[in-house]
Symmetry: C2
Subunit: 195 residues, 2 copies
């Protein structure tokens, strides 16, 4: 399987947008591979440091990065369902279960059965959960604000467009709808509750 002994002549299928992978200066090609590699490395370093501050705080609470992710999305999009969270995090139910249970047991998140569909367990942060979420977010938001400021006036739009385009094309609508729905309940599919 995937023998790797041919010298990479054919372009390995890209994400989904399938353009050329550089190597033959075709089209308007502005960025040489070497430049692109630098962006890849910068993204690695940026993300590495983006997670540092909250990771340190989490340790004081006996939590890990997985807890942060769950608490963040429950806090920013309270009322979401377990299945929404699974979809956002792209992990298995069992993996989520472990950290979610700990957050519930320790009083950072509460569940509430859905009113339209009582099978659903809508997730909400407690006051304690909200406070921890904000505390974890604070250094990240400062870092982002500083970085956007450092990148100049045009950066807000450019960085946003860039990050959005980095997401798998088929997931972009989902990501947009997640971000559009702030605090309140997440985009319910379509039952009888308003819409």
């Amino acid at each position: 399987m995937t023998d790797l002994n041919e010298p990479m002549t054919q372009v390995p299928k890209p994400a989904e947008t399938a353009r050329r992978s550089d190597g033959g200066s075709r089209e308007k090609e502005a960025l040489p591979e070497a430049k692109l590699v630098e962006y890849a490395e910068l993204l690695f370093f940026a993300y590495r440091d983006f997670t540092r501050d909250p990771d340190a705080i989490l340790k004081d609470f006996g939590f890990g990065r997985a807890h942060h992710r769950v608490l963040h999305f429950v806090n920013r999009h309270s009322g979401l369902r377990v299945v929404d969270l699974l979809d956002i995090l792209t992990i298995t139910k069992q993996s989520l279960s472990r950290v979610l249970k700990q957050l519930i047991d320790k009083g950072y998140i509460v569940q509430q059965a859905g009113s339209a569909d009582r099978r659903e367990r809508l997730l909400y942060p407690t006051d304690k959960g909200r406070m921890l979420a904000e505390r974890l977010a604070a250094p990240q938001l400062v870092r982002l604000a500083d970085a956007l400021h450092a990148a100049g006036p045009g950066a807000e739009v450019a960085v946003r467009d860039f990050l959005e385009a980095m997401v798998n094309a088929e997931d972009r609508p989902k990501v947009s709808s997640i971000m559009a729905a702030s605090p309140r309940p997440l985009k319910r599919r379509d039952k009888e509750e308003g819409a």
Copy 2:
């Protein structure tokens, strides 16, 4: 410790640039917290998908993301030392050891004693290692090229400045020197080899 029962009045220490954390409309403050949160989420989603393609390929080789990181930096900065790698990845020697040994045993990386300092084990990719590294990088580079293109003409500079500023200030010189030194040996401290 870190009791969390006070309502977050004091600004939790930022990364290192220490500005205000929003909340009191001071200074030129352009970005409200809600906007910043969206950048945090977008960065999460972008990185999530950025690692997807190579992760899938790695599985075919019995490797994980940790192997990818090691192979990448050895390939792009061949001749680096183990300590350089530790510094880049910010993991322990023991964690690195495990994946590095596997990459060496399977013939993707070779070691060579340093000529100036024979204690050092300089790391180089084999042809096989180079091919795998390129194969793993390919979909990521396509994704980056597409995203930069989608973000418009000014995005290259803005995104680069943004990502650089996201890195811890004290690590920025190091990151720059890593990226400046492409293929050839990494910045040796200062022995008798030129400089």
